[in-house]
């Protein structure tokens, strides 16, 4: 009685191991078909991220070096980490009136958690998320970015 139980247990055990080995063996012999790995640094040329991927905040400029940021600071308020600092200035309009405009749009990439709240908060679609992802630098200072190009202006008609 003990012996039959023992043999049955051994048989069941060996069989369960072989069942598992069968799956492993399938992938071993069909490696070329079933492989899913991306060889990341080597496939840089062909690697495309999804269009919604949150990489970093950027401010798109058009060909006339114009952006859409009015300096309303909604993104600065929406940011949970103090990532964005907007320094504004009073700009003289052609009609003689003064108008608030951005001087520098400072973005601290090292503090950003890519939560997308600033992009959602922006009323004039001035900022968006870029699909970049290799952000490593040697110096922390390089992560502090100014998003508006030098000499850029606000686009016509954006309030």
């Amino acid at each position: 009685m003990f012996l039959t139980d023992y043999i049955r247990t051994v048989y069941k055990g060996v069989r369960s191991l072989l069942t598992g080995m069968k799956t492993t063996g399938y992938y071993f012999t069909h490696a070329r078909k079933e492989i899913k790995t991306e060889e990341y640094p080597d496939n840089r040329a062909t690697l495309t991220m999804f269009d919604r991927f949150k990489g970093e905040v950027v401010m798109p400029h058009d060909e006339n070096n114009e952006h859409r940021c009015t300096g309303c600071q909604a993104c600065e308020i929406a940011c949970p980490n103090g990532t964005i600092k907007i320094i504004t200035k009073q700009e003289l309009q052609p009609d003689g009136k003064k108008k608030k405009a951005i001087d520098t749009f400072v973005y601290h990439l090292e503090l950003c958690t890519m939560c997308n709240l600033c992009v959602v908060a922006c009323p004039s679609d001035a900022i968006k998320m870029a699909q970049t992802f290799e952000h490593s630098v040697y110096d922390k200072k390089q992560l502090k970015k100014v998003l508006n190009n030098p000499g850029s202006k606000i686009m016509e008609g954006v309030e």
């Binding site: 369960s16 069942t19 999804f50 991927f53 940011c79 949970p80 890519m114 709240l117």
Partner: protein
Amino acid sequence: MSLLGEDYTTEEGEFVINIGPQHPSTHGVLHLKVWLDGETIKKVQPHLGYIHRSIEKMSESLSYRNFIYATSRMDYLSAHINNQACALCVEKGLQIEAPPRAQMIRIILAELTRLASHQLWWGCTGLDLGAVSPFFYAFREREAILEIMEETCGARLTQNFCVPGGIMADIHPNFQKRTKDVLKQIKSKFQEYDDVLTGNVIFENRNKNVGFLTAEDAISFGCTGPMARGSGVSCDVRKWFPYDGYDKVQFDEVLGKEGDCFSRYMVRMNEMKQSVSIIEQLIDNIPEGDFQAKTKMVLKLPKGEFYQRVETARGELGVFIVSDGAASPYRIKYRSPNFSNLSALDHVARGYKIGDLVAIMSTIDLIIPDVDR
């Protein structure tokens, strides 16, 4: 004597060893101090606090829109469900409800999160117990789910897709097709999972009759999720306190009987199948409409206390907000499932061998950042 171990005095012949690494570069690992008599465990004392980031205190200075992102970093494998809990709690305070489309997308994403989380757990359980290949099989399917998340939410783990009043953006045009493809892939792999690990004789011997937790103890320790359900305690928040339209979905609450490690394992394996069936019911029936309810620019909750519970992949997450009428919460308390589940570890592990501790720990399925917050 240690800081918290005053109730236990080391006897003659016993010795104390530390299990688990503790180093700043390996964040989110558990450090256990174990009292041993030979190989038998006399007492286990987890050391916490290494990854405390004061998310609760930090939230007190943030607005009701802003504090949600931090909860992605608590239980990072159920990040979406954590965000959902916070969004639901704020919605409860504002007395609004997300539109049906937003609710349904939230559930689908939550179930996808649960699937991804259980798959990572399955792979890691195999890895902990000496089987390396399950890890690769599990990550293959998990990767497909994370790609859905990346395409629709923009991030793989810390999505921050739930906002008070709905979701941040509408689903990606590819979402439904991609989800269906992934479900098809996952369904065909369940048999493979059983072949590789569930039926394996070594795995069974290491998990069966190890780490018993009775239903009474599970309740008194406050265990929730698959850990309590493995002991036969019916505690699924989705069934008992349905939120976001879980009451309209057909699914079974998976319950175990024995309360040992294998029973907890089987609960999670069957929960994956339930999650697949939930998504299958919903994916073709997403109603048209808004994805976000109209909310004010600055959210202000009325004075009072609000509590919302959800079922994450590891158990019941409770969000408790005390509001004094200002734009940021007066106090936030998170009742995290992992902290309560960890509290039962000492009770469960006592009397078993040191090799069984690995099996017990991996079937409790702890996420340490959620323990410390």
